[in-house]
């Protein structure tokens, strides 16, 4: 670097030395923006890595599977018979042990590659084939807690332990197989499946690969949050850079007058800003890592409980986050700096170096901004009318939020203008006029605040509505006090008899998997009884639906299936060779799968060989009932589940699901508060020349300070008033559009005024805190600083 260049750079950098707070806001803003963005990206990519690892471990998604039509076991002889008839299938045995999914595979026949288990080259093959080594990642290995040696391999998907089939059989104490993976190529001489193994069903690979689709909306949700925070962060950066330029006009002019060429100056400025940006981004990415590390356990438990998707709870710092973090930070800096560079380039050397009322110029494009806002909001309405799919839902959300944000300055301006026309008194008039005059300088921060509050209202409405619905739903569904699930279908009749003899009412469930209209569904057979009639609330139903379900005249579907397949009450659903009238649609929150419910009579008619394997029992004494049934049938403890246990587990799932959202909510509000603070700080310096005459006219510094705080509160209040309807609109879109597309069910929307009031109070508090420091500074400003304004008057 030559001497001249370093002198220019020194002159530029000296500004930050004199204004360390500006340096902090610049770097801090960029760091915050990058932190949230890269944190969310980190969580997303970690989760996706885990899905990929799971898909590779389990062969799901890549390969078709042969699964039993009924139950979950395939005898060894069936496997051998298939192989001996040209079916290139590979056996898998699966089961749970200490909450870990044990997957036993046969490395010899496994189609494609097993995950790279990071075996060293001299690992004896015996260790994998039959000698009893299990492979799992660090976390899973700890949870596994068994006597078989566990080898740590970070490439095994979380929550899964992989081992040879013989070892898995030992651990799980079973002889049979769970499913068969079908290789993508097959022998020329392959017999028909129906001939060889009529009990098995071919499940195409894409059906089992719906995990990605299901979790997609969740990740989209996170990404939206990340982008929102990034946008807010860029507002901060933009205003800081703007301020720094305005304050350095003198320096820039002097440098030019001293003979520094325009190009050198621009290069020096770019170099300076980008160096600072990279510094800020680095801090941001590191912070993002901590954000991600803090969020990941909650995200992991959400995904695992909502979708059964396992995600590693530990984080690895990956190159791609650095790249995406820097890319976003530099992109934001470019956006913020471009206009300023243009100003330097077009600045006449001898123009006055006084800071202009920089903020004023920002507002010139307001008409254009209002038009864009109108277009965006119209776009959102159009999408509501004609859009389809999850992406359209999010696009609608984006249009609405952005449109509302862009419309904000105009709306505030009109409101204040209206009020100004109706107040008297010099100070009030001046206050309102001065407040309006400040809108351009604060508009970005106000937009950020609007978005943050609206997002908070929207998301908390969704979460609370979900919670309320979900709890009611659990109360309906979990009416039976004791649940029994059997593995051995041969015991079905005995269990039914034992329950019938000892319980007040027995609910039994037949179940099998099938595909209707290309949608994977669970077909359930139930015995209609008092509990169903009393407790189940259907979203829509024909008359006397329960009676007609019992006779087999109608069927009931869950909302997920009905929406996906495009059916509703009164439609005819064709399956199993029959045309059946859909008599009711049931809400089924939290279940990702479609479900069709048949009366027991019809179910037995269609699938005469199936046996009930899940039972619910009404009783007043669960323990006594359990002991009686155990005495008669010899069922193990694991076959019984208490209603209270299920309920508390389900609620726990729910709370965890939204812990992530709540944390992100708080973070965005903090970022928005920071944006407000930096903008006010920026304006405070610029406003001295405007306040000096008011001071000279007799308003004390203290009063001026109070008015500054009041002004900020007025702004925040207007923003809050506008954020409420926007947040509710957001909630409505989330519940009625996005949820339906993403999960297949529509949630009723409830309002929570107390929560909103609390939130708005927080927002006002944040604004108050943001305004406090600049106001105190103003109240303590040295009188001679104010006097200098007159001395320096051009």
């Amino acid at each position: 670097m030559n001497r001249k260049f370093s002198t220019i750079l020194q002159a530029l950098l000296s500004h930050w030395q004199r204004k360390p707070l500006q340096l902090v806001t610049f770097i801090g803003g960029l760091a915050l923006a990058t932190a949230l963005w890269s944190g969310v990206q980190a969580v997303n990519s970690e989760a996706r890595k885990s899905y990929d690892a799971a898909a590779a471990t389990l062969g799901e998604g890549q390969f078709d599977q042969l699964v039993p039509r009924v139950g979950n076991t395939i005898p060894l002889v069936t496997y051998i018979k298939l192989r001996r008839n040209g079916w290139l299938v590979s056996p898998v045995i699966e089961g749970q042990l200490n909450g870990i999914r044990i997957v036993g595979v046969d490395a010899l026949t496994s189609p494609g590659e097993l995950p790279d288990l990071q075996l060293s080259d001299n690992t004896p093959l015996q260790d994998f084939l039959g000698k009893g080594t299990i492979y799992a990642n660090q976390e899973t290995a700890l949870a596994l807690n068994i006597s078989v040696p566990v080898q740590i391999s970070s490439n095994v998907a979380p929550g899964i332990a992989i081992t040879d089939i013989s070892v898995a059989q030992d651990i799980l104490a079973r002889e049979d197989l769970t499913r068969l993976m079908v290789a993508n190529t097959h022998s020329l001489n392959r017999e028909e499946l129906a001939v060889i193994a009529p009990d098995l069903r071919l499940q195409p690979s894409q059906q089992s690969a719906d995990l990605g689709e299901l979790t997609e909306s969740f990740h989209l949700n996170l990404t939206a949050f990340g982008l929102l925070s990034f946008a807010v962060g860029i507002f901060i950066v933009h205003s800081t850079i703007g301020l720094a330029f305005e304050q350095r006009r003198a320096t820039l002019r002097t440098l030019r007058a001293l003979g520094v060429s325009l190009i050198s100056l621009i290069i020096a400025v770019i170099f300076e800003i980008f160096t600072l940006a990279i510094f800020g981004a680095t801090i941001g990415i590191l912070l993002g890592y901590f954000v991600a590390a803090a969020l990941l356990p909650d995200v992991a438990s959400t995904l695992s409980s909502l979708y059964g998707a396992h995600v590693a709870g530990t984080l690895q710092l990956r190159a791609e986050w650095w790249l995406s973090g820097y890319a976003m930070a530099l992109f934001g800096t470019v956006v913020a700096i471009t206009g300023k560079l243009w100003q330097i380039a077009s600045m006449p050397i001898l123009v006055s170096a006084q800071p202009r009322a920089w903020a004023m110029t920002v507002g010139r494009g307001r008409t254009l901004q209002a038009i864009i806002a109108l277009l965006l909001i119209s776009g959102a309405l159009a999408l509501l009318g004609f859009g389809k799919g999850l992406v359209a839902g999010f696009a609608m959300l984006g249009c609405l939020l952005l449109g509302a944000a862009l419309a904000l300055p105009t709306i505030i301006e009109k409101c204040l203008g209206f009020v100004q026309g109706h107040v008297r008194g010099v100070i009030s008039q001046w206050f309102l006029a001065d407040t309006r005059q400040q809108i351009p300088g604060l508009s970005l921060a106000l937009m950020a605040l609007l978005l943050a509050i609206a997002a908070n209202i929207g998301v908390s409405t969704m979460v609370s509505s979900f919670r309320q619905t979900f709890v009611e739903f659990l109360d309906q569904r979990l009416a039976p006090e004791l649940f029994v699930r059997i593995e051995d279908l041969g015991k079905s009749a005995a269990v039914e008899a034992a329950l019938t003899a000892n319980a007040d009412e027995v609910l039994l469930l037949y179940s099998r998997k099938a595909s209707v209209r290309g949608i994977p569904v669970e077909i359930d057979g139930i015995r209609v009884g008092k509990t169903y009639r009393d407790n189940w609330r259907l979203l829509a139903a024909e008359e006397k639906v329960w009676d007609r379900l019992a006779t087999g005249e109608v069927i009931i579907a869950n909302e997920q299936f009905a929406r996906r397949a495009g059916y509703w009450v009164g439609d005819i659903v064709s399956f199993a060779g029959k045309d059946l009238l859909l008599g009711g649609v049931a809400g089924d929150y939290g279940n990702p799968l479609g479900q069709i419910i048949l009366g027991e009579k019809l179910y037995r008619e269609l699938y005469p060989d199936d046996r009930a394997f899940r039972f619910g029992a009404r009783t007043t004494d669960q323990e006594a009932l359990k002991m009686a049934v155990q005495a008669q049938t010899g069922l193990p403890d694991s076959a019984f589940t208490n209603q209270a246990d299920i309920k508390s587990f389900s609620l726990q799932v729910f709370e965890r699901t939204f812990a992530v959202t709540a944390a992100l909510n708080v973070l965005t509000l903090v970022v928005a508060g920071f944006a407000m603070f930096t903008s006010l700080l920026t304006l405070a310096d610029l406003r001295v020349p405007q306040l000096a005459p008011v001071w000279a006219l007799g308003l004390s510094r203290r009063e001026l300070g109070k008015l500054e705080v009041l002004r900020t509160l007025v702004f925040a209040a207007v923003v809050c008033v506008l954020a409420l309807p926007l947040g509710l609109a957001l909630a409505w879109i989330l519940l009625s559009v996005i949820n339906v597309e993403a999960f297949g069910w529509r949630l009723p929307m409830f309002l929570f005024p107390a929560d909103y009031a609390q939130l708005l109070a927080y927002a006002l508090l944040a604004a108050f805190l943001a305004a406090l420091w600049p106001a105190i500074r103003l109240a303590r400003i040295a009188p001679n600083t104010l006097l200098k304004v007159f001395a320096h008057e051009r």
Partner: protein, 346 residues
């Protein structure tokens, strides 16, 4: 390292050969080792010997259709033991794998299968003879009359075999020495099968007839540490005589050779190291490797000086264990046809 790669590069001696033999499989580790002057007992010895590390049932055939077009065919079942025992169920330490191939003058098809012992997916029973893996089999009422089938994703075959001569024992009454340091195997053949049946090719089924040669070999320590791979020849001359000869290539650019001369009636003469010589006279670039596809083969004691050339240079078995195996034609002072296998050209 990946499990499958591990299985096939580290533990199977054959894989080790193909990879350029890395010194594995030289220690018998509790496995039985071949000893001279074994009394073979049939049909039992047609069946598996789980106490030996490695064993194969290796059939090759030279075929022609009604228009005189030549084809080659291979059906091989390998057994490789991790421990010198057999156990029922998935705990079995016996691993089976099989290769099938069909070579036409312009195309080479090859495919493979894998299975664990103990569960019935693959195995060999001596009486009645039945060797199988998945839907592939080689079976018959006895070893002389066999039905054979194998299928891949794009080819397959269905063949009937009938032997027209006696079993042939290599080396010293079936004790075949593989190196100067004494590595050895049990090795006998049935080179007198007449074969006929149908090849299923992408172009349609093709009726073919010809001659087939079945090798049986088992051992626990088949190669010496300094050996890189082998070149194995089974040649049938037009006058009815046959020649089995192999060369084990060593690191020091030398080799160990062995040969069995088989008269038209099955009378054998064996030749120790150095009598049978082979020199590559032409190589071809196949799958990125230089592989000899034409050889000068000499056995002066029998006045043999012939050129052995691949029918289709591209007969590369591009499988988990890769090697070259394909039909050859013989020209020179005797003419005929046969099969050539070359390993260790990785």
């Amino acid at each position: 390292m990946n499990v499958k790669a591990l299985i096939f590069t580290c533990l199977f001696p054959v894989a080790a050969f193909a990879q350029g033999f890395a010194g594995l499989g030289t220690d018998a580790e509790g496995f039985s080792v071949p000893i001279p002057d074994k009394e073979f007992s049939f049909p039992d010895d047609h069946g598996p010997h789980p106490d030996y590390r490695i064993e194969w049932w290796y059939l090759t055939a030279n075929l022609a259709d009604s228009e005189g077009k030549s084809y080659g065919l291979q059906w091989t079942l390998f057994r490789s033991a991790l421990e010198p025992v057999e156990r029922a169920g998935w705990q079995s330490p016996q691993v089976w794998f099989a290769h099938a191939a069909v070579t036409t003058p312009d195309t080479h098809f090859a495919t493979e299968r894998f299975a664990r012992g103990g569960i019935g997916q693959a195995g060999v029973e001596a009486d009645p003879f039945h060797a199988w893996i998945d839907e592939w089999h080689l079976k018959g009422p006895d070893f002389d009359t066999l039905h054979m089938q194998a299928y891949g994703p794009d080819f397959g075959y269905d063949m009937q075999l009938q032997s027209k001569g006696p079993l042939v024992f290599h080396g010293s009454r079936g004790f075949s020495v593989k190196s100067s340091s004494g590595q050895s195997s049990y090795y006998y053949s049935q080179p007198f099968y007449k074969i006929s049946g149908t090849l299923h090719l992408p172009t349609g089924p093709k009726k073919v007839t010809g001659d087939a040669w079945l090798d049986r070999e088992w051992s626990s320590q088949p190669l010496a540490e300094n050996q890189l791979g082998w070149d194995w020849f089974s040649l049938s001359f037009d006058d009815g005589a046959k020649l089995m000869g192999f060369q084990l290539r060593e690191k020091s650019n030398s080799s160990y050779t062995s040969a069995t001369w088989i008269g038209p009636e099955g009378k054998t003469e064996t030749f120790p190291d150095g009598r049978f010589t082979v020199i590559p006279i032409e190589t071809s670039r196949i799958n990125g490797r230089e592989v000899p596809t034409s050889w000068r083969v000499k056995l002066p004691e029998k006045d043999i000086d012939v050129t052995v050339s691949a029918m289709n240079n591209n007969a590369w078995m591009d499988l988990t264990i890769s090697y070259w195996e394909g039909p050859v034609s013989v020209t020179g002072n005797k003419s005929g046809r046969g099969y050539l296998e070359m390993t260790g050209y990785e």
